[in-house]
């Protein structure tokens, strides 16, 4: 096993991007993502990474440049957060429609206002339907590993779609953690150079981004949706290959101590680490029949895997870190209710919203949510969603 190195998660992600030997980086600094691209600009300036680092005047330009470099056949990377992501919005729709395999780290940060630089998932949820593959890392090692795997997934000819790798802002981005790096030889044996099936090349000219007249647009969207849905099989295959090569296996939904569980918590991102502590205490000290599901893949949504994992479960407590204002459920909770609605013997789904704008979600919060979800299940309480940890 390789030696573990203590390094800030942002810098570990930069090192993964360097190991992936990207050709082009276009980014604009925004907290809490800044350290990632700052370090990458240093690596380029110092000659350690042979890539074009393109400084731009806004995130709209950053993502536009990414579209151009990726279309020209360059392995392309960017990173952003919150308002920066919002400013990219227009181009975020274009990238998957053009089937460009851009990889982006999203250091999740609350959307303003009030202005907040702290962490929740409202930024990602605001671009949920742009057509990107969305993957969540819950610690630094996962962020490092998933960054490398993302290039391989995105550039697979069966996929050809962009990916955002989500890391919780500050909770991960600014924390020093032990990481087990891969050597350049190991990465090269896993990640081949980018081989675009079609690109902007005068020897074989193509037109990208054509007008989609009503006779074509619908078919274009159907093809894009099928590509995203079918990417799940490739994602699972590449997770498997990475695991076999390097010993760290990833799943689209991770299970933690779900054996004999009647109640499951479901989380995304770094709060999963706290949730695991809570599960350990509830199981080992209180003898409660609980377990945890950690949703790694948000898009394409792993519907089949979810249905399989909740078989025989009585109560499922879903914890969201974003609000769908005035909606019928929080983003993840509502999605899960929808995924399970047509299945028989589905669990009761309690939809909770916690940890908005950097509010801590503690071990006690998770324990309280389990107790509350079980009570709601007993009473078959009809609800849309409940906010946990807000002062009433």
């Amino acid at each position: 096993m390789a030696k573990k190195i203590g390094i800030e998660v942002s810098l570990a992600i930069s090192e993964a991007v360097k190991l992936a030997d990207v050709d082009a980086i276009a980014a604009y600094p925004i907290t809490p993502q800044t350290h990632i691209v700052e370090h990458l600009s240093e690596l380029v300036a110092d000659g350690e990474l042979n890539a074009e680092f393109i400084p731009v005047e806004s995130e709209h330009s950053a993502m536009s440049v990414c579209a151009g470099t990726s279309a020209a056949g360059a392995r392309t990377y960017t990173a952003t957060s919150s308002q920066g992501l919002a400013l990219m919005n227009e181009i975020l729709f274009i990238i998957p429609a053009l089937r460009l395999p851009v990889v982006m780290t999203l250091a999740n940060r609350s959307m303003s206002g009030p202005i907040s630089i702290w962490n929740d998932h409202s930024d990602l949820m605001s671009v949920r339907d742009t057509g990107w593959i969305s993957i969540f890392a819950e610690n630094g090692q996962e962020a490092f590993d998933l960054t490398l795997q993302s290039f391989k997934i995105a550039e697979d000819h069966r996929v050809m779609l962009p990916i955002n790798v989500n890391i919780d802002g500050f909770t991960l981005s600014h924390v020093i953690e032990p990481h087990e790096f891969l050597s350049q030889e190991e990465v090269d044996s896993f990640l081949p150079p980018y081989d675009p099936p079609l690109q902007l090349n005068p020897d074989k000219p193509v037109s990208m981004g054509m007008v989609g007249i009503p006779e074509i647009y619908f078919e274009a969207k159907k093809a894009q949706d099928v590509a995203l849905v079918e990417s799940k099989a490739v994602i699972k295959e590449i997770f498997q290959e990475f695991g076999e090569k390097f010993g760290r296996t990833y799943n689209v939904i991770e299970s933690y101590r779900t054996e004999d569980a009647e109640t499951l918590l479901l989380t995304m991102g770094s709060i999963s680490e706290t949730a695991m502590e809570a599960i350990d205490m509830m199981k080992d000290e209180q003898g409660k029949k609980v377990g945890l599901l950690r949703l790694r893949l948000w898009r394409p949504f792993p519907t089949d895997e979810l249905r399989e994992l909740v078989k025989g479960i009585k109560t499922l407590a879903v914890i969201d870190r974003a609000v769908s204002f005035g909606g019928t459920g929080a983003p993840v909770g509502g999605e899960i209710r929808s995924a399970l609605y047509s299945t028989e013997d589905r669990p009761y789904v309690a939809s909770f919203i916690a940890g908005l704008g950097g509010r801590d979600v503690t071990i006690k919060d998770f324990m309280d949510m389990v107790t509350l979800a079980e009570k709601m299940e007993t009473e078959q309480e009809v609800h849309e969603y409940k906010m946990i940890g807000v002062r009433e």
Partner: protein, 97 residues
Amino acid sequence: MAKNFSEMTWKEFDLAFMVTNPGCSAEYRTGDWRSQRPVADKSKCIKCGVCYLSCPDDAIRLAADGTYDFDYEHCKGCGICATECWTGCISMVEEEK
């Protein structure tokens, strides 16, 4: 053109609906929403080619006698040729239903 776009299923297009055969727009009739058409009084034509050079849609063709003809399958009726014509031989005429 192998098959008209409007007959193709979503499986039959190239990746990302890219166009991989350059110049294929000539295969589509795109002039049918024109409201005015350019008509030339060829007796005034001095064969200068300004209309040909100024057409943004390549919808003007050199005729055998050195004058120019309009490609009404692609002309959008923008009127630039009529404005640019040195001798004023081109006039814009209302399309009739």
